[in-house]
Subunit: 401 residues, 2 copies
Amino acid sequence: MLYGNAVVGQSGGPTAAINASLVGVIKATKLSDAIGKLYGMRNGIEGFLDDRLIEISLSEEECEMLKLTPSSALGSCRYKLPAVGSNEVKYERIYEILRKYNIRYFFYIGGNDSMDTVAKLSAYQPKEPYEVRFIGIPKTIDNDLEGTDHTPGFGSAAKYIAVTMREILCDCAVYTTKAVTIVEVMGRDAGWLTASACLAGYDGPGLDYIYLPEVPFDMEAFFRDIDSAFKKHPNVVVAVSEGIRDANGEYIASADHKGSDIFGNVNLSGAGKTLEMEVNKKLGCKVRSIELNLMQRCAAHVSSLTDIEESCMIGAAAVNAALKGATGIMMTFVRGEGDYSISCAPGEIAAIANKVKKVPAEFIVPEGNNVTAACAEYLLPLIIGETDVRYKNGMPQYFRF
Amino acid sequence: MLYGNAVVGQSGGPTAAINASLVGVIKATKLSDAIGKLYGMRNGIEGFLDDRLIEISLSEEECEMLKLTPSSALGSCRYKLPAVGSNEVKYERIYEILRKYNIRYFFYIGGNDSMDTVAKLSAYQPKEPYEVRFIGIPKTIDNDLEGTDHTPGFGSAAKYIAVTMREILCDCAVYTTKAVTIVEVMGRDAGWLTASACLAGYDGPGLDYIYLPEVPFDMEAFFRDIDSAFKKHPNVVVAVSEGIRDANGEYIASADHKGSDIFGNVNLSGAGKTLEMEVNKKLGCKVRSIELNLMQRCAAHVSSLTDIEESCMIGAAAVNAALKGATGIMMTFVRGEGDYSISCAPGEIAAIANKVKKVPAEFIVPEGNNVTAACAEYLLPLIIGETDVRYKNGMPQYFRF
C-alpha cells in the first residue's frame, strides 16, 4: 500500500457534472486508509505550480450541494505542460510541491488537454525517485473522447439541450405564419451535443432537421429541406452544430462574413446567425437564430441524474484504481449489454489523447440532415433522471469553496 | 344571471404561465352553473373569425399538465381589430360566431394589444342586442402593464433569468484571466426582466452591473465601470436590456452597425453583440455576449410556482368577475401590505392600454448602472417556489390539444 496524501484538480471548460466527479474523489479518499489528507488545486495545474492548494474537508451535506453545483468549484485553467525533457524546471517544481505536501495520489479531472497533462506527469521520471500515481478523470460536454462509452458532463448538457429544444418547439408552434428557427449548439468537430436535440421529439413532434459537423453542409440542400418542411407545417425548427462546414471544409459560421464587420473583426457571426441571414435573403420569411451558448454547459438546475451519479462514480473509481496501483491512466465508462448499465474501467491515455470521437455514420440518416433512431437509443439513457437541487429564495443553492 | 357558453383565447407572445391562466378559466367555468360549454379559439381572435373553435373538456390530470406547459396551447396571433365603426363586417362576423355557439362570456389572455381587442369588442354595439361579457386577462413576461402590481408570466421569466445568471456566474468564475461576459435580456422599453438578474446575487456574489433602457447608456461610463470591476476580480459579468439607448435615444443595438452587413440588412447585432465588439476594440480582453433569447419566455421547467399559481388564480378571477356582471375590464394584481400577498381586482382597460410601466427611479442606483435593494425586494416574491413538472424519459411532459 502506498501511504500519503492526495491532490485533485479540475481543468478545461466547466460542465454541470465536473463537481460530481470531485465529490466522488472526496468520498473515496475519505474511505481509504492509505490516503491521509485530500488537497485541492485552485485553477488546476497552473495553481498547483503556484502552490495554491487548499485542504478539502467537507461535510456530507456540503458534498451533496457540491455534487449538484455547476462549473469547476476549484477553478480551472488552460495550461499545457512542456514536453517531458524540454523544461526540467517545471517538472522539478511540481515534484517540489508534491513532496512538500507528501502527495502520492494525483487526480486530474478534465478533457483532452488535461489527459495530456496526466500522460506527461506519469511519463516524467524525477531524479530522486518519488512514487506518485497520476490518474485522469474525463469530463467534457462534447462527448468526443475515444475509449469511453460517453463522457461525464455530456448527459447533463444533452438534457439541457433536449429540454430547451422541447420548450422552443412549444414556443414556435403558436403562430400560423411561416417562420424558421435555427438553434446553434456547441461542437466544433463532433456533433454529439447537436444530435441530442433529437430527444426533444422522442415521444412527440420534434425538430425538422439536425445538421452535424460530420456531414458537409450544403446550403442548397438546406433550402430544399426547409421548403419541404414548410409543406408540413408553418413553423420549421432546426438545430445546427457551430462547427458545420461546407464541402471545402470552410466553416459556415464565417464563410460569407469575412470583412463584413466595420471594425475589421472577422468571424463574428456563428453558424446559426449566418444561416439566419441566408434564409432571410433566400426565402424572405421570418427567421430567428438562437445560440445556446454557455447555458448548455452550466445549467445544473436541469442536470441529468444519471450523469451526476456516473460522474461521481468515475471519480471514486479513479481513487480505487490508484489505490490498486494504477498510474498514467484515464478512467473510462463501459456500457453493459442489455438494459442500460455502466461500469468504470481504466483506459490507456495514449490510445485516447488527441483523438476526436465523432458521431458514427450509422447514427446519421443517409440524407445527412438528421440522426437515426439508433442515435436516440444511445443518447436516451444518458439524460434519464432529475436531480434534487435545493432552492432557497426561489434560487438553486450552489456550493462555493 | 346570464346563461350561455364561454370562449377563451390566447394572444401575443407566449409565456411560461399563459396556460396556467387558461387552466384558471377552465376550472372556474366548470364550477359555474351559468356557463355551459367552454370553447377555445385556436390562434386567438384570428382563429375565432375563421370559426376555428374547439370545445375544451379536460380531466384534472390534463389540467395539471397544461398548467405547467409553456407557450400558448391554443395557439396565438398578432391581430389588431379595426377601430369600432370603421369596419362593421368584422364585428358582425364576430357576433355571428358568438351567436352560433351561444357564447355570452369572452375571455382573452394577452398583452397590451390583446387588451385593445377586449376594449374594442366591449365598446361595439351590435345592431340586434346580444349581451356578451368581455374580460381581459393580462400576460406578458415584460411586466410593463400599468394598473397591476406585476404581470402573469413575468415571475417565471424573471426566475429563469436569475437562475441562468447564477449559473453563468459559476461558469465565468473559473478562470484567472480577465474576461467580460455580457448577457442580453429582453425588454425594448422597460427593464424589468433585466432588473431581475439582480436576484442572482440575492444571497451571494452577483453581477457587476445591470443596464436598463430607463437610463441613457453611456459607452465611456460603461468602460469605466468595467475597469472598476476588474480591480475587484478578473471575471466581469453584466446584464443589458436589448433596448438600451444612448443619450440621443438611438438604440445601442444598431447605432454603430448601420450598413455593416454585406447583405444590406441593418440591425443584425443586438445590444450585447454590439457591446462585445466595443469592449474587444477598447479593452482587448476576452469578451463574450450571450442572448437569453426565446428561452426566457418558454423555460417552463424552471417556472416560478408563485407565478403559475397567481396566473391560474387571475384566470379564475376573470370568470368570477364576468359572472358578477363585469365587462370591458382587465383583471389586475393588487399586492397586500406586510408579508407578500396578492389579490385580483378588475381594472379599467382604458387606464391601462397603450401605456408602458417602466422601472421607477427609486429602483435604480444613482449611477444608473444597477438596481437597488428595494427593486430586489419587489422582485423576490415573484420567483418563489418551484413547480412539479412531470418528467418521462428524462424530459418534461407538456400538454398538447
